[in-house]
């Protein structure tokens, strides 16, 4: 007798970088978990068979930074709308920065967010706790209580701690309890009121500029503090080649430092803000072609271990103003996978490496048991057609935010099915 809780994914090209698997095979899923790969287990009678012929089957993607705008910014998006968009993008685990309103600096807010996402059942939502109360950079938050409530790490999001002593204390306290510190490396004074990379384009357009040093000064400082405190420091969204070089030196010195990069930084540069396109207003800013290439090569080498969407959905008004007055950020959940596959097309890295940077790479950084297809693991699976071309239009985005500079781009690779904890949470209707 067939069992509705049993699913067979048949004849797909299974790519599981964590286990060095790349082969055409079948996956057997039962009771939310991966029961077996290859050989059909005895007594397995699937209630559903997914034909994955000519498709790639990989672990559900793990996104280290996606803003879901809830609580407090529901006019931009909410957990329901954005986890649906995540499922459409093949993402099954979303890490969620604490700069909501209220800030996730108490267990109550963390619990609220987790429960809200559990009700939606589209994806796993894991919040980061605030590193300091109210993200004000003054008093430490109750990091241990936040961790117990389900926060996977602490971060001060886009409000880097200006006071070096407080930063040191925060890292020391986090290290005491084995909590990872996620830092967006930026010197606030050097950033000043800047909104674009300090380079030829901002010089000509007269846009207040953010020098590369705003990032490199902070990366150097934070690496010194990581060495001093022994805290695992993870850098969010690197933007400059020099920062990658400094990070690589830190890793060669065996310091506990890791990093990710936002996928748009791997495709766009300062040139894209020509004409004051506010959809290209991002933080950190789009930098030079040299920086973009250094980020690509750091990613290929593994110095940067993860690619994230850095999803920031906005209501249209947030982008309808002169460039400096617009809110930064791109709605990126639905373009994360195809933009990563584009790197494979462009010869930046092999397909298995690209998938690793979206799955086990980010999971390993945060010490999460996801992003891999081990027998017994949660059945979080992304199935995609690697050859399908599609054009990004507002109509085919389901995120509440349509703010993306990739509108009109033809991308290759389209998710056909997403399974989260053994449930089909997205299925493309042909």
């Amino acid at each position: 007798m067939s069992n509705a809780r049993q699913i067979l994914i048949r004849n797909g090209r299974l790519i599981d970088p964590a286990n060095a698997i790349d082969t055409v095979t079948d996956i057997y899923i039962a009771d939310k978990r991966i029961l077996a790969i290859g050989e059909q287990p005895e007594g397995f009678v699937p209630g559903r068979v997914i034909d994955a012929t000519n498709k790639i089957v990989c672990p559900g993607l793990v996104d280290l930074s996606a803003r879901l705008r809830e609580p407090g910014l529901e006019h931009k998006a909410n957990i329901g709308s954005e986890t649906k968009a995540a499922a459409k993008g093949g993402i099954t685990t979303l890490c969620f920065p604490p700069d909501t309103d209220p800030v996730i600096d108490t267990p109550a807010v963390a619990t609220l967010v987790i429960r809200r996402a559990q009700r939606e059942r589209n994806a796993r939502v894991l919040p980061y706790g605030a590193m300091t109360q109210g993200l004000a950079g003054e008093q430490l938050s109750e990091m241990v209580a936040l961790k117990r409530a389900g926060c996977i790490a602490v971060t001060n999001a886009y409000m880097p701690i200006a006071n070096t002593l407080i930063e040191r204390r925060a890292l020391e306290y986090a290290a005491t309890f084995g909590i990872i510190a996620v830092l967006r490396p930026e010197d606030r004074h050097l950033r000043d009121n800047g909104c674009a990379h300090e380079g030829p384009v901002s010089s000509r357009l007269g846009l207040p500029a953010i020098p590369e040093a705003a990032e490199t000064v902070a990366v150097a400082r934070d690496i010194a503090l990581a060495e001093h405190t022994g805290c695992h420091v993870h850098f969010r969204s690197l933007s400059s080649g020099t920062a990658v070089r400094i990070l690589e030196q830190g890793q060669q010195n065996r310091l506990p430092v890791t990093a990710d990069v936002a996928v748009h930084q791997l495709h766009l540069t300062e040139m894209d803000i020509e004409g004051f396109d506010s959809n290209c207003h991002v933080q950190p800013p789009l930098r030079s072609l040299t920086d973009r290439d250094a980020l690509r090569s750091g990613l290929a080498k593994g110095v940067i271990g993860a690619i994230c969407s850095d999803h920031q959905p906005h209501e249209p008004d947030a982008k309808e103003a002169p460039f400096p007055a617009t809110e930064p950020g791109i709605s990126g959940l639905e373009t994360l996978l195809p933009l990563t596959l584009k790197l494979v097309d462009e010869g930046v890295m092999p397909l298995t490496t690209a998938i690793a940077r979206l799955t086990c790479g980010p999971a390993d950084i945060m010490g999460l048991p996801y992003g891999r297809l081990n027998t017994g693991a949660s059945a979080d699976i992304c199935i995609f057609d690697p050859d399908k071309h599609w054009i990004v239009t507002p109509q085919n985005l389901i995120s509440a935010g349509h703010n993306t500079p990739f509108l009109g781009w033809e991308l290759t690779g389209e998710v056909t099915h997403t399974l989260f904890e053994g449930n089909i949470v997205f299925e493309r209707k042909e």
């Binding site: 030829p200 000509r204 007269g206 004409g275 309808e320 103003a321 002169p322």
Partner: protein, 324 residues
């Protein structure tokens, strides 16, 4: 998405005037020639031509200005247009929604042209991108980005005194970093074929990548103005001291202030320009500002003819483009 040429219509004629960037020598020369034909109007008893009769021009100023707004108003009235003046306090309307709302409301009053000044770089592009198809937008200064009518009146002044741009050396002295005027001047001078454009300032007042704009950089005033035909002094704002960009007005004047003695390093017939308002004793000595080589007041009066030229050309482009 970006469109450098939103200022041109399909025939390559001016529709908006937002920046010098993306224009060409022919078009700039046409502006100067048209302005030349308008200079006579100011000297007549009846200082009006009926070119823009029945048109409504709105001066939309989100930043304080007296001179620029006034010359735009005079220019519009000499072209027989009706003029609306709106000074909008930016602190009350800092958000884009309000800017768009303001725009929609004015469009409902059938405005034909916006003359816009705003504190944010890119504001004029934003307004041009969001205006009804029949509306022309003229940038009267946006953030640090562009002030193209000022640059054109400066080019007009230079051409009046020096003739051709080929063979000229022009030095721009002072706060290039925060100056929309300097950015537009550099673009215009280079497009018109100026032999050498120099900028003279301490590094704190220069954009980091200023060389990519086609200028030679000097940090010494005497070296920088040696043998130049034109010296353009920029206004130094007091805020620059607070932002730690400079130690003091005193030291700035010692190093970069233009005095009669220093002026001798330039060509004997060099002209001295300034977009105003001038800070006497900060960037320029009174003796120079009021001296025989100064053309500062001529710049102001040429400003009217140049703005008449730009307004009539953009509105003419509308009629020819058949947008109505």
């Amino acid at each position: 998405m970006s469109d450098q040429n939103i200022q041109l219509n399909e025939d390559g004629r001016l529709k908006h005037f937002l920046t010098i960037d993306g224009l060409n020598k022919t078009l700039l020369t046409e502006i100067l020639d048209t302005a030349e034909s308008f200079t006579g109007v100011s000297e007549r008893t009846v200082k009006k031509v009926p070119l823009l009769r029945g048109k409504v021009i709105c001066n939309l100023f989100f930043e304080n200005s007296t001179r620029t707004r006034t010359t735009f108003e005079v220019a519009a009235k000499r072209l027989s247009a009706d003029v609306l003046n709106l000074n909008i306090n930016t602190s009350a309307t800092a958000k884009g929604e309000t800017l768009l709302d303001t725009l929609r409301n004015l469009e409902a009053m059938h405005v034909d042209m916006f003359v816009v000044r705003h504190a944010d770089s890119g504001a004029a592009h934003f307004i041009a991108n969001h205006s009804a198809p029949h509306v022309s937008v003229i940038n009267a200064g946006d953030g640090r980005h562009s002030h193209p009518t000022q640059a054109m009146l400066d080019m007009f002044t230079i051409r009046r005194h020096k003739g051709e741009f080929t063979g000229l050396r022009v030095a721009i002295v002072g706060d290039i970093m925060h100056s929309r005027v300097a950015r537009s001047q550099i673009l215009a001078l280079n497009l018109l074929g100026t032999s050498e454009v120099r900028v003279i300032a301490p590094r704190t007042l220069l954009p980091a990548h200023v060389r990519t704009m086609g200028v030679h950089v000097y940090h010494d005033l005497m070296e920088g103005i040696k043998d130049v035909d034109v010296i353009i002094m920029l206004r130094l704002q007091k805020e620059r001291m607070r932002g730690a960009l400079l130690p003091s007005e005193h030291e700035y004047f010692q190093l970069f202030g233009l005095t009669q003695a220093r002026l001798a390093a330039a060509k004997p017939d060099a002209i001295v320009m300034h977009p105003g308002p001038i800070n006497r004793g900060v960037e320029i000595d009174s003796v120079v500002a009021d001296g025989p080589q100064s053309v500062i007041l001529q710049q102001v009066s040429f400003g009217i003819a140049v703005r008449m030229a730009i307004m009539s050309m953009t509105m003419g482009a509308q009629a020819q483009g058949g947008a109505r």
